[in-house]
Amino acid sequence: MNDSLKALIESLIFVSQEPVTLDRLGTIAEGVPPAEIQAVLEELIRDYEAEGRGIHIIRAGGGWLFSTKPAHDREVRRLLQIERKNRLSSAGLETLAAIAYRQPVTQSEVSAIRGVDSTGALKTLLEKKLIKIVGRKKAPGNPLVYRTSDEFLLYLGLDSLEGLPSEAEIAKILEEEKAVEAEP
């Protein structure tokens, strides 16, 4: 295997603050066929997944990036001197899910899905940059239209919106929940 290519790809992913796509790697490693880059990349990923490594290469937001492994969260936070990262509130997550599945979507559409006014939750998600305003709907009042952002994909470790739980996965969860409840 091409060791210098591997080292090159490693350094490119290392310096990048955003997920690096295969295309991007291809334009920089000129003349190397995409299949070779892919193969070297996969080897690199395997190297990092091995025991005894603190960081690994994850796929999110359409590309690859380095992240620490979950086991070291507490120590990393101690180094950075910050508190635990808060999970989204249930209202926030519910609003985010409604947007993710129904986008592009307006505030009143999200509120209708949840049966609850979602203005506050939308504001919080905007502040967290998990959603973005993409324009206005041509409807009475010209309401703002929202979409999930690239940060959203990174936040949940999704490669693309295609990676959202599918209808089948959701149906499975619902069945499991019903099975649990059916027990005496």
Partner: protein
């Protein structure tokens, strides 16, 4: 080095074991009226597609009466669904000449909402699992949080923001520049070409900086109209990252449209 237990900020839905006597569930453990309805439906092991409206309405209203605090906004949402339940019941009581086809079932509107909400809830539990894993992994794009709440929100740039920036800049010029401005014909077509070429060369243009370099008010005005025209015809984009920051202008990466304007 085991991961610490995750914060349990999710209010757990009470298990059906408590369902006998002295059943105490506060309304605020539910995300909203649909959440409460789903809970009641599941507790009774009812098929969501065949809800006995009278029984569910009775349960539902029972919960509303048990509320411990008054929060008008929340209340309105719960009362709205109560009204919907009662309306559906009244529709079902009306005599009909023929049997209802399924899509005419007065419960349809409620069933559709419940089914959709149920899916969102289920998706949430899957997304929560992802969040729990991701939140423990630190990425290089991480920036330590600033102390204090950030008030900044992504700004939408309107024509007025652009115009205001322009006039602000012209005012600044007025104060600094005392020369007499002589008229010079600057055709829009020429300026437009100039501007597009400049954008292609420089990729990104600083809005204010661009105007600083103009000799006359007239020329600046023409340039300003050119930028408006480029943005309007979706050839260029104008973006302001944050309040009070400069506006940056660049060409859209759509060669077809750009070519049409050259």
């Amino acid at each position: 080095m085991a991961a610490e237990p995750l914060s349990a900020d999710d209010a757990p839905v009470p298990s059906s074991a408590d369902a006998a006597e002295g059943y105490q569930v506060r309304l605020d453990v539910f995300e909203g009226p649909l959440d409460l309805l789903l809970f009641l439906i599941r507790k009774k092991k009812i098929d969501i597609h065949d809800i006995p409206i009278a029984a569910i309405t009775r349960d539902y209203l029972g919960y509303l009466e048990r509320k411990t605090e008054i929060n008008l906004d929340r209340e309105a949402e719960f009362v709205f669904i109560a009204a919907l339940l009662i309306y559906i019941k009244s529709q079902m009581l009306l005599p009909r000449e023929t049997d209802l086809a399924e899509h005419e079932d007065p419960r349809r509107v409620l069933i559709d909402r419940l089914v959709e909400y149920e899916k969102v809830k289920a998706a949430c539990s899957l997304l929560r699992e992802r969040e729990d894993v991701q939140i423990l992994q630190w990425k290089r794009n991480f920036i330590p949080p600033l102390h204090g709440e950030s008030e900044l929100e992504p700004l939408e740039l309107s024509l007025f923001d652009l115009a205001e920036s322009f006039f602000l800049m012209m005012k600044r010029r007025e104060a600094a520049d005392t020369r007499v401005i002589r008229g010079r014909d600057v055709p829009i077509e020429v300026k437009m070409k100039e501007l597009v070429t400049l954008l292609q060369e420089r990729h990104v243009l600083d809005f204010l900086e661009y105007f600083e370099s103009h000799a006359s008010l007239e020329e600046a005005l023409v340039s300003f109209f050119c930028i408006l025209e480029l943005v309007k015809s979706r050839v260029a984009v104008a973006v302001q990252d944050e309040l009070f920051q400069t506006i940056r202008v660049w060409l859209r990466k759509d060669p077809h449209r750009t070519a049409a304007h050259e």
